[in-house]
Amino acid sequence: MRSLKAEVTFNFTNASVVMIDASPICIQVLTGILSGCGFRKMFRCTDLASGTDIVKTHSVDLVLIDPYAFGEGAYNFVSWMRSERRGPNAAAPVIILTAYTYVRLITAARQCGADYVIAKPFSTQGLLERILYVAESEGRRGELTAPSELVSSTGSGVEMF
């Protein structure tokens, strides 16, 4: 089936994205996908401290974070980012990427102010569609969609396999 967004046009050249994932290979894969989608300003962080530094010192348009290795610290990071003191970055879309999804993660993601949860593995199209979705969904934060499958190459989220 042809995607409804197949002909959508966009330009991410000036958008800055922060990737926070403890797995270097996952960061590389994500970098490959995002650069293909047109992102040029990419910050690659394998720990929360460097992600925090980036948010403190740069204007950020999108955050992609895998909380697996960071536990509660990842959700605290998003909550901290959402605090008003972070200025323009407080409203930046946050997408949680995770290979291991469970109900408590969805609750934590909703409570900390993340915009979406995407299950790994995801397809390039799935990721891009969700980036566009959160970019278009300003003011709808908290309406986390619980996707239909947990492990899916289309990049959906939650199921209990």
Binding site: V29, G36, K120, P121, L128, L132
Partner: protein
């Protein structure tokens, strides 16, 4: 959008060999840790097994190994569900399935589906009270 997706897929393709090598290393790491387990794994070994399996879950489906991702995910669930215990037989079945599904051409689509169904049954049996 379709052009961007095609470009992104091309970039992903450039990482195929490297990613497959990482997944192979993860499988070898799982084998190595399991070989060191006597009765039940230490919390550190259990955590490492979980991490390695999660890496396979995350990457498999991006490189046409959806069934491998699902088998690895099932293994993660098994590790969690049996904690603090350990079901060596169920673990062995899962690891064997992952090894097989690493080369998906060796198993038909129907065979892969049956294998995953089997893993679900094994896991349910393993955690049944």
């Amino acid at each position: 959008m379709s052009e961007a997706v095609a470009r992104a897929d091309l970039h992903l393709e450039l990482l195929r060999e490297k990613t497959l090598a990482v997944m192979a290393d993860c499988l070898a790491g799982i084998d190595s840790i399991i070989a060191q387990i006597d009765v039940t794994p230490t919390p550190e070994r259990r955590k490492k097994l979980h991490e390695l399996s999660c890496t396979i879950t995350a990457l498999g489906g991006m490189f046409q190994r959806d069934a491998l991702s699902q088998a690895a995910y099932s293994f993660c669930r098994l590790i969690d569900a049996t904690e603090p215990g350990w079901d060596a037989a169920a673990v062995s079945v899962h690891v064997g399935a992952m090894r097989l599904l690493f080369t998906p051409a060796r198993v038909t689509a129907e065979g892969q589906a049956k294998l995953l169904e089997g893993l679900l049954k094994v896991r349910r049996h393993s955690v049944a009270p």
